[in-house]
């Protein structure tokens, strides 16, 4: 099963994503340069973290116009799994594949930490195999990760089970003290209405080996693999 990791000028987690995916038996990943215009042949697409186009104007604002992004939208509409971590999440919001936006952290600081999230939707394409309420630990490193959505969008997200992950305390409570960036309702990761496009500020790509502090990121990529396998079995 093949994942395509898109490289924008300024991406800096592309190698982490490639190594993380390649480290999971059954998965292989290769880079796709942002000037390419085709994503045919990939079972899933990864938009990595970093500072695409220097974060000029707004994070992700210029990357969304990269030539490859038309193919990302096309694949997303076809149901291909798309995951955006950190800057990738910002790009997915800018292009409108995910609702809402990511703005400056409430306390203005760049935050670099290992945080805990609670799984809110256990049967999503990206958290399959994670129990409801189970906790995932992953690193964060961002200055603009405060998730914002207007009231109606937020209501829709909650009603349609699109809020996949929330920042939580070590014992699983969703409270302000566990919110590293001021995100509305402690939102750490959301999916689109169809459930095949997922964005999160934390880095599953940097949490795929115990010696790095956590291997919980593997669960996200393994879940994607199982989702694609299940689709293939249904199609066969």
């Amino acid at each position: 099963m093949k994942f395509g990791v898109i490289q924008f000028p300024g991406s800096n987690c592309d190698q982490d994503c490639l190594a993380a995916v390649n480290g999971i038996p059954g998965l292989e990943a290769e880079y796709v340069w942002h000037k390419n215009t085709s994503l045919d042949g990939y079972d899933a697409i990864v938009l990595p973290g970093g500072f695409s186009y220097g974060d000029y104007l707004r994070c992700g604002a210029i990357a969304r116009f990269s030539p490859i992004m038309s193919s990302v939208v096309e694949q997303a509409r076809k149901g291909t799994l798309v995951i955006g971590t950190c800057n990738g999440f910002q790009i997915l919001c800018e292009i409108g594949l995910l609702p809402g936006a990511l703005v400056r952290n409430r306390k203005l600081h760049f935050v670099c930490d290992l945080i805990t999230m609670r799984v809110e939707v256990p049967d999503s394409a990206f958290t399959h195999g994670c129990a409801q309420g189970s906790l995932l630990r992953m690193p964060i490193a961002h200055g603009e990760g405060c998730y914002f959505a207007d009231e109606k969008t937020l209501r829709d997200l909650n009603e349609r089970d699109q809020v996949i992950l929330r920042y939580a305390t070590g014992d699983g409570k969703i409270e302000a003290s566990a919110n590293p960036n001021g995100s509305i309702e402690n939102i750490a990761g959301i999916c689109n209405r169809e459930g095949n496009v997922f964005g999160l500020m934390p880095h599953p790509d940097r949490a795929c080996e115990e010696r790095l502090g956590s291997a919980d990121g593997r669960k996200i990529f393994e879940s994607m693999m199982r989702t694609v396998e299940a689709r293939r079995e249904r199609a066969a």
Binding site: A61, A101, V103, L108
Partner: protein
């Protein structure tokens, strides 16, 4: 001609930069400052003989220069 575009955060969006600057202004002896909002200001040199300039500029502001989820914009000529 020079077109000026002003992009500002929507009222519902937190503007922590603005709040920090407000606090600094109050601290520096201007307690009357009640609120500060920080946006962006762009100057764009453009050939004013271009057809459909207004509508194309508006498209540009909506799609690139601002994010309508969090920002408003104004074009000043």
């Amino acid at each position: 001609m020079k077109v000026k575009v002003v992009v500002t955060p929507k009222a519902a969006v937190l503007d922590p930069q603005g709040a920090a600057v407000r606090d600094a202004m109050q601290h520096l002896g201007m307690p009357e400052v009640q609120a500060v909002r920080i946006g962006k200001y762009l100057e764009i040199e453009v050939d004013d003989k271009t057809p459909d300039l207004d509508s194309r500029l508006n498209d540009l502001c909506r799609d690139l220069l601002s994010n309508p989820v969090i920002e408003d914009y104004e074009v000043v000529k």
